[in-house]
C-alpha cells in the first residue's frame, strides 16, 4: 500500500532540462535542511547542464507507492475500456467476427428473464466482457438456467461451491446498480476531487460486476441481457439499494457493498477457487478495500460534522439494517456459510468509526423484486435506447 517514507534527511530531486521538457526525477541527496538541499541538488544533478527547473522534496513529505501497488496502478489493464485503442479494437473485432462464418449474434429478445447459466469451462478472468461474436471460445450460445430456486440450480463453476457462486451473482447486481448511481454522482460536484473518485469507484464497480459474470461463464450478450433485460421482479438486490438516494445514503451503501464484496472475496480466495477466479477475485478484493477506505473517510467526516451528523446517523442506521440481507442467498437466509460471512461483514462495517450500525445479528434472506425506485429507475432508463434497436446491435 502507499506509504510515507521516514528518512528525514533524504531529499528527492526533480529537474527539467529545458522549458517544454518534462520535469523528471533524477535522483536524491542527503542534506541537513531544505535550503542546503536545493543547492546540493544543483551541484549534484545540474553542474553540467542548463536546468530550467529544479525541485527538491523531502522524502518524508512524500507518499509513495510500494511494490505491491502494481495492480492498483495498472489502470489500462484492469480497465480495458479506458485504453486509447479500445474503441478501434472493438470495431475491428466486430467487423472480423461479422465476416466469420462462425459468428453468432445472440438475439437479445430470445434471452429468457431467468438467469443464464455459464458454459462448463469458465473463461480466463478479465474485467472486459468477451464478445460472443469476437471470441471463438465463447461463440456457443450459453445454456439458459431454468427458473428453479437457487438451491436446485446446477452446481457452479469454480467459486468454491454453488452458494458462493450465487452470492457473487447477487453482489454483481448490487455492484451494477451502485456503479450506475456513482456515475450520476460524477457531475454532482460535491467536490471536484470527489467527482473523480466516484467516477473511478463507479467504473470499478461496473467492471467488478462484469468480471463476476465473466467468471460465472457469461459472455457479453448474456451479460447485457442479465443487466439490461431482466424485469425488476427477477432481481434480488440487497434492500440497501432502496436507500441509494442522497449522498449520506450513497456513502453508507458504498461502504456496506464494499465491505460485503471484500468479505466474500476473502472467503473465495481462502477456499482455493477454480482456475481464473483467484487472480480476478484478488484484484476485486484489493480494489474494494480501497473503496472501503474511501467510504470510511466519508463516514467519519459526515458523522463528525455538526450539520451532517444527524442526517448521516439516520441514513447509516437504515442502510446497515437493510444490508442484513447481503449474504442471504438462500430463502431461509441462514446457512452456516451465510452466518460466517455475515459475522465478518458486520464486524467490518462496525469498524468504520462513524455512528452505530443496526446490522441484524443474523443474515436475512434476499427477496426478489425489491430495490424500490432506485432499481426501477436504473432499469427503465437503461432500456430506453436499447428497446428501440434490433437485438444484437449493441455490444
Amino acid at each position: 500500500m502507499p506509504h510515507v517514507p521516514t528518512d528525514p534527511d533524504v531529499y528527492e530531486v526533480f529537474a527539467q532540462n529545458g522549458l517544454g521538457k518534462t520535469l523528471g526525477h533524477v535522483g536524491s541527496i542527503v542534506s541537513p535542511c531544505p535550503d542546503a538541499a536545493w543547492h546540493l541538488a544543483k551541484e549534484t544533478y545540474g553542474r553540467r547542464d542548463d536546468l530550467a527547473t529544479l525541485w527538491v522534496v523531502r522524502r518524508a513529505d512524500m507518499t509513495v507507492s510500494g511494490g505491491d501497488d502494481g495492480d492498483l496502478l495498472a489502470a489500462k489493464t484492469r480497465m480495458p475500456h479506458r485504453q486509447p485503442g479500445f474503441p478501434t479494437a472493438r470495431r475491428r473485432d466486430r467487423s472480423a467476427a461479422a465476416s466469420s462464418p462462425a459468428a453468432v449474434i445472440l438475439p437479445t429478445a430470445a434471452v429468457p428473464p431467468a438467469a443464464v447459466a455459464p458454459p462448463a469451462t469458465a473463461p480466463p478472468a478479465t474485467a472486459a466482457l468477451p464478445a460472443t461474436a469476437a471470441s471463438p471460445a465463447t461463440v456457443a450460445p450459453p445454456r439458459f438456467r431454468d427458473s428453479a430456486p437457487p438451491e436446485r440450480r446446477d452446481d457452479a463453476r469454480g467459486a468454491g461451491g454453488s452458494e458462493l457462486s450465487d452470492l457473487w451473482l447477487l453482489l454483481a447486481d448490487d455492484l451494477f446498480v451502485l456503479g450506475n448511481r456513482l456515475g450520476e454522482r460524477i457531475v454532482d460536484y460535491i467536490d471536484l476531487e470527489e467527482s473523480l473518485a466516484v467516477g473511478s469507484i463507479g467504473q470499478e464497480a461496473l467492471a467488478h460486476a462484469g468480471t463476476i459474470l465473466v467468471l460465472s461463464g457469461f459472455d457479453q450478450p448474456a451479460a447485457d441481457a442479465w443487466f439490461f433485460d431482466r424485469p425488476q421482479g427477477r432481481w434480488r438486490v440487497s434492500r440497501a439499494i432502496e436507500r441509494l438516494t442522497d449522498w449520506p445514503s450513497t456513502v453508507a451503501c458504498g461502504l456496506v457493498i464494499a465491505a460485503a464484496v471484500t468479505v466474500l472475496a476473502e472467503r473465495t480466495v481462502a477456499v482455493e477457487p477454480g482456475e481464473g477466479w483467484l487472480p480476478a477475485i484478488t484484484a476485486v478484493r484489493d480494489e474494494q478495500l480501497v473503496h472501503l477506505d474511501h467510504w470510511r473517510r466519508w463516514a467519519r467526516a459526515l458523522a463528525a460534522f455538526p450539520e451532517t451528523r444527524a442526517e448521516f446517523a439516520r441514513a447509516y442506521a437504515e442502510v446497515t439494517e437493510r444490508a442484513g440481507d447481503m449474504f442471504g442467498a438462500r430463502p431461509q437466509g441462514g446457512s452456516a456459510l451465510a452466518v460466517t460471512l455475515h459475522e465478518r461483514f458486520a464486524a467490518l462495517v462496525g469498524e468504520n468509526g462513524g455512528p452505530g450500525s443496526r446490522m441484524p445479528d443474523r443474515p436475512l434472506a434476499r427477496t426478489a423484486g425489491v430495490g424500490g425506485s432506485a432499481l426501477a429507475y436504473c432499469l427503465s432508463r437503461g432500456r430506453m435506447v436499447r428497446d428501440d434497436y434490433a437485438p444484437g446491435v449493441f455490444q
Binding site: P87, I186, V187, D188
Partner: protein, 295 residues
C-alpha cells in the same frame, strides 16, 4: 525564470515574474475552460443511464469522468493564479460567466450523440493543440493532458457513430445524418467569430496566449473532420459546407446574433444547465464542508 522563445514571446512558470496582462489572461483562459468542462459535460452525462450496453456505459462513464477531470486540472491552474474554484461555478450561476454556445443544447436522440460528440471532440482537439503553444506553461501542460484524453473521446465518438450507422436501421441512420447537420453549424460557431482581419490587434494574441485565429482553426478543423464523416458514409450537404478548388473550406456563416443570444442564456437547455448546477451546489454544500471540516 522566464525564457525567450523563437516567436519573440517569453514563456512563464507559475512563480516567474510576468506581466499582469499575462497572469490575468492565463487565469481567465483557465477559468473559462474549467467552467466549460464542468458545465459542458452535462449534455453527455444526461445520457449515461441510457447507454444501452455494459461496455458502452463504461466507456461513456470514463469520458464523463475525463471531462470533469479536465475541469479539475483547469480549475487547479486557475486556483494557482488566484481564482477560487468555488467562484468558477458561482460566477456562472450569478451570470458573470458564460459557457460556449454548444453547451446550451441537449441531445434529443441517441443517434444525435455520436455525430455531435465527434464534431465537438475534433474541434476541441484543434483548439487545444493551438492553445498549448501559449506562453503560460502550467496551462500548456494541462492542455497537453486534456488534448490526449480528447483523442480518446474522439475515438469513442467515432465508435458510437459507426455502431449506429453500421448496425442501426434506416431511420436510425437517418437520425445520425440529421445530427451531423444539426451540430455542424453549432460547432462552426463554437470556434468563434471571423477574426482574420482583427487577430493581430487581439491582446491575447499579442501576449502569446492565443497563438492562432478563429478562422485558421476553423479551416484546420473542417479539413480534419469532414473527410471523417464522408468516410463514414454521411452525406455532406454542400449548402452547409464545401471545399473550394483552392482547398479552403466554405461554409454557411453562423447567425452570430443568434449565437450571442444563445450564449447569453437563450439556448434551449440554458436554464436546465443553470438549474442543474444550482441544485447540485445547494444539495451538496454541507457535505463539501463536512469533508473539509474534518481532517
Amino acid at each position: 525564470m522566464a525564457m525567450a522563445i523563437a516567436a519573440g514571446h517569453r514563456r512563464y512558470e507559475l512563480w516567474d515574474p510576468m506581466p499582469d496582462e499575462v497572469r490575468e489572461g492565463a487565469r481567465r483562459f483557465a477559468t473559462v475552460q474549467a467552467l466549460n468542462e464542468l458545465v459542458g459535460v452535462l449534455p453527455f452525462a444526461e445520457w449515461l443511464d441510457r447507454a444501452p450496453s455494459h461496455t458502452r456505459r463504461q466507456m461513456l462513464m470514463a469520458k464523463i469522468q475525463d471531462e470533469v477531470g479536465h475541469g479539475h486540472v483547469a480549475a487547479r491552474v486557475a486556483e494557482d493564479l488566484g481564482m477560487p474554484r468555488e467562484r468558477i461555478l458561482q460566477d456562472y450561476l450569478d451570470g458573470r460567466a458564460k459557457v460556449h454556445n454548444i453547451f446550451h443544447y441537449s441531445f434529443a436522440t441517441w443517434e444525435e450523440l455520436g455525430p455531435g460528440l465527434l464534431l465537438m471532440n475534433s474541434a476541441a482537439i484543434i483548439q487545444f493543440q493551438s492553445l498549448m503553444k501559449g506562453v503560460y506553461l502550467p496551462y500548456a501542460r494541462a492542455l497537453r493532458k486534456i488534448e490526449r484524453e480528447e483523442s480518446f473521446h474522439y475515438q469513442h465518438a467515432l465508435d458510437l457513430t459507426h455502431e449506429v450507422l453500421t448496425h442501426g436501421d434506416a431511420e436510425q441512420r437517418r437520425r445520425v445524418r440529421e445530427g451531423f447537420e444539426l451540430w455542424l453549424p453549432r460547432v462552426l460557431a463554437y470556434l468563434g467569430p471571423p477574426d482574420t482581419d482583427t487577430l493581430h490587434a487581439n491582446r491575447m494574441w499579442l501576449i502569446g496566449l492565443k497563438p492562432d485565429g478563429n478562422d485558421a482553426l476553423r479551416q484546420a478543423w473542417l479539413n480534419k473532420i469532414i473527410p471523417v464523416f464522408l468516410k463514414l458514409g454521411v452525406h455532406v450537404d454542400p449548402a452547409l459546407v464545401r471545399q473550394a478548388p483552392s482547398g479552403e473550406w466554405e461554409f454557411a456563416m453562423p447567425d452570430w446574433a443568434e449565437v450571442k443570444k444563445v450564449i447569453a442564456g437563450g439556448g434551449p437547455a440554458s436554464q436546465r444547465r443553470l438549474d442543474w448546477v444550482r441544485n447540485a451546489l445547494d444539495r451538496n454544500t454541507r457535505y463539501r464542508r463536512a469533508l473539509r471540516g474534518v481532517s
